[in-house]
């Protein structure tokens, strides 16, 4: 599963590229070049561009920060529920004075969103229905009511100029200066509240039971967060659309979660990613003229997430793969060293110079394989060749010796192996025929500190369970 899973992810990453390329091509249809348009767009010379870009940036910022709390609390899909649940509120706000008055819509949508979230909690508490069904019902139920209302409104006289359809897929260009005002206020409130109550939000997100024990008003804080989230969702609707706004809450925060282990950095990164996604989406939508903004913002966020998933330094798949490959190479190297040690040991350590052919027999490997192993050892400065010819090809008679660091590492590996065998038989009561395979593996992973503790626990032993000498600190120092 693991391997196929990764292959699928790579395939998806590749799939995402043509879409961006396609989007760029749409832009080229117009007479100016791509770069000219980029300059035109990001310097914000046209007022409509100014509102669209500022709006998208502010939206990305708010959603990134607030979404982080949802993601760490494993409530990601509550964002989805919330965004669908506001729809009837939007319609209601629109009916209030039959125009796209941002404030009326804002109030209606916020009320509907909070009602939706409260209903999820309430149904869950009073029935045996599980959280996912509850969220699904509230999501789809509210949305159904919203659909009913919007279809009615579109039949009504004022429906033609409603612009209600912008709420479904989102068009950043539809943002008005009134919307920007509202957005700025929300962003400001978000920053103030999160900064002011950062430690409280941190504690309730991590362990709400403990927060309660500390005397924190857990319920109030929870609903405060939900209210902020609703605000953010409501103001984002026009730019991103009902269905996709949840992605802005989840995806940038999830990308940030892959890159850092600290909550405050996660907030900063998520806000940055959200803004980046907003800018990308607004720009691509601008290039392509009439395509909706929302999907492009979402795909921008997905792109950032995929980059984090593949290349994140700590948890990324590619660095992980590289680390594992490096480790495999190290283990191969160490196994060669160990074989050389065994060769030397069989001559009571009289032999210090070895023929490659002998090593190949000892390791049960072909001459060719052994040659490349020795080449790797030489490269790592753990062995040196005694052959005068310096060419890349070697023969079975070619001789080599280990350098000081090579001997040191070889002794360490053998020590680890024998020490672990002894630990398993003496301290963990394993039968003696069970311990070798395990030691073959663990010898490459034991750190200095653990070795020291095992030695202590076994009272600095001299012989392994098979009666062989355990190379100790003195002999390692040579």
């Amino acid at each position: 599963m693991n391997r196929t899973g990764k292959q699928i992810l790579f395939a998806l990453a590749l799939l995402a590229l043509p879409f961006l390329a396609h989007a760029a091509k749409i832009g080229e249809i117009s007479e100016t070049t791509w770069t000219d348009q980029a300059i035109d767009f990001f310097t914000m010379q046209q007022p409509i561009v100014r509102t669209a870009l500022t709006g998208s940036l502010l939206i990305g910022f708010c959603c990134g920060i607030l979404g982080s709390f949802l993601v760490v609390r494993k409530l990601s899909l509550l964002g989805d529920t919330l965004s669908h649940a506001v729809l009837p509120g939007v319609a209601m706000g629109f009916l209030w004075n039959a125009s796209k008055d941002p404030w009326a819509i804002f109030v209606g949508a916020t009320a509907a969103g909070i009602l939706g979230v409260a209903l999820v909690g309430w149904i869950k508490q009073t029935t045996h229905l599980k959280e996912d069904s509850t969220m699904g019902m509230v999501l789809a139920g509210f949305y159904g009511v919203g659909i009913c209302m919007t279809t009615v409104i579109q039949n009504m006289a004022m429906g033609n100029k409603s612009g209600l359809d912008k709420f479904f897929f989102g068009q950043a260009a539809a943002l008005s200066s009134g919307d920007i005002e509202l957005l700025s206020i929300i962003a400001l409130i978000t920053v103030v509240v999160i900064l002011g109550f950062y430690k409280e939000f941190l504690v309730i997100s991590f362990d709400s039971g403990f927060a309660q024990a500390l005397g924190m008003p857990v319920k109030v804080l929870h609903y405060a967060l939900m209210a902020l989230l609703t605000f953010a969702v409501v103001v984002s609707l026009q730019a991103v659309g009902v269905v996709l706004v949840s992605a802005l809450l989840i995806t940038p925060a999830a990308a940030a979660f892959l890159l850092t282990d600290r909550m405050h950095w996660m907030l900063v990164l998520a806000a940055a990613f959200g803004m980046l996604a907003g800018a990308i989406g607004a720009f691509v939508s601008y290039l392509s003229n009439n395509l909706p903004t929302g999907p492009f913002i979402v795909l921008g966020a997905t792109g950032i997430f995929l980059l984090a998933l593949l290349f994140g330094p700590r948890h990324g798949l590619l660095p992980k793969m590289l680390r594992r490959r490096k480790q495999r190479q190290r283990i191969a190297l160490e196994n060669t060293l160990k074989a050389v040690f065994h060769l030397s040991e069989s001559s009571q350590f009289k032999d210090q110079v070895f023929e490659i052919g002998r090593l190949a027999t000892e390791r049960n490997a072909t001459l060719h394989e052994t040659e490349s192993e020795i080449r790797n050892l030489v490269k790592a400065d753990m062995a040196s060749r005694l052959d005068s010819r310096n060419g890349p090809e070697m023969s079975g008679q070619a001789q080599f010796e280990l350098t000081k660091s090579g001997w040191y590492r070889a002794c360490e590996i053998v020590r680890n192996h024998r020490l672990w065998e002894l630990y398993l038989t003496n301290a963990a009561q394993y039968p003696i025929d069970h311990v070798h395979d395990d030691a073959e593996d663990i010898e490459h992973h034991l750190g200095e500190e653990l070795v020291h503790r095992i030695e202590e626990r076994l009272e600095n032993p001299i012989h392994d369970p098979h009666g062989k000498l355990i190379p100790n600190r003195e002999s390692i120092k040579l």
Partner: protein, 274 residues
């Protein structure tokens, strides 16, 4: 201290359960390590050990629910999949959703499903068997109750009845005594003895050290590896218990953890945690 597996058993006389050099690791947490085990027919084996010792993991590994890193398991001399109808299972009570819309009889009937095969529905005879099993655990009067309306002990008895309905030869029970009242506990143990008298083999995960020697005639002391296994009187020694429960093997778990991290993450740090 450790029984080594007898070699070359024909499937006729094969032991109900044979485990050889079994290692099981979750992605990050290695849980069982080089387990050797052979369980003779007709015994009640208590699996005892501290929290996180891998008791449930052993049961789940036997049933093939977890990937095995190395070693093998044989049930009546065959891989589990081929001996499926001969094994009955009583999971931990927390493992299922008690709000599920089924009543006690439905749950017991599930024990018959393995024998039915595809496209067949439980017959009248199956229902009678299920009722009989409920009677055996003295739950027949609750047959039509939805399962969330039963007490913890009653739920456990329903699970036991379901295992009886499976009519198996080897029973795997995961903590059947957790959260049950004293009457249920003695009722369960009575049924276990009856099953044993019929020549069935039982493997019971148990956490209560005080009752273990009384209930089981063989004990498997587990703590990541087999600390001791054999007749109860031989195994239940102070030294063995200390070996299983004392913290003297912290190095074993730490090393195992270090290895797991390095293997799966390619972690380069020397040793992780302490």
């Amino acid at each position: 201290m450790q029984s080594s597996p007898t070699t070359n058993l024909s499937s006729k006389s094969a032991a109900p359960l044979e485990v050889h050099d079994l290692t099981v690791a979750y992605t990050k947490r290695p849980v069982l390590y080089g387990i050797d085990l052979e369980i003779p027919k007709g015994s009640i084996v208590g699996v005892v050990g501290p929290n996180g010792a891998g008791k449930s993991t052993l049961i789940r590994a036997i049933m093939g629910l977890l990937p095995v890193s190395s070693g093998w398991i044989k049930v009546f001399g065959k891989p589990f999949k081929q001996a499926v109808t001969r094994v009955g299972y009583v999971p931990q009570r927390e493992s299922v959703d008690w709000d599920f819309p089924v009543n006690a009889l439905d749950v017991v009937l599930m024990g018959r499903y393995g024998r039915l095969g595809p496209f067949k529905r439980p017959s009248k005879a199956d229902k009678e068997i299920a009722m009989n099993c409920l009677e055996k655990v003295k739950m027949d009067s609750y047959a039509k109750r939805q399962i969330s309306n039963l007490s913890g002990g009653q739920q456990q008895r329903v699970f036991l009845a379901r295992a009886l309905a499976q009519e198996s030869d080897l029973y795997l029970m995961d903590e059947p005594f957790v959260g049950v009242d004293a009457t249920t506990e003695s009722a369960i143990i009575e049924i276990l003895r009856e099953l044993q008298a019929q020549g069935k083999t039982l493997i019971v995960v148990h956490h209560d050290l005080t009752t273990a020697p009384e209930y089981f005639d063989r004990i498997l002391l587990l703590n990541m590896r087999v600390v001791a296994y054999g007749k109860t009187e031989d195994v239940f020694t102070f030294e063995n218990l200390q070996n299983a429960y004392g913290g003297r093997l912290s190095i074993l778990s730490e090393v195992a953890l270090t290895r797991a991290r390095k293997k799966f993450d390619g972690d380069t740090r020397d040793n992780v945690g302490q």
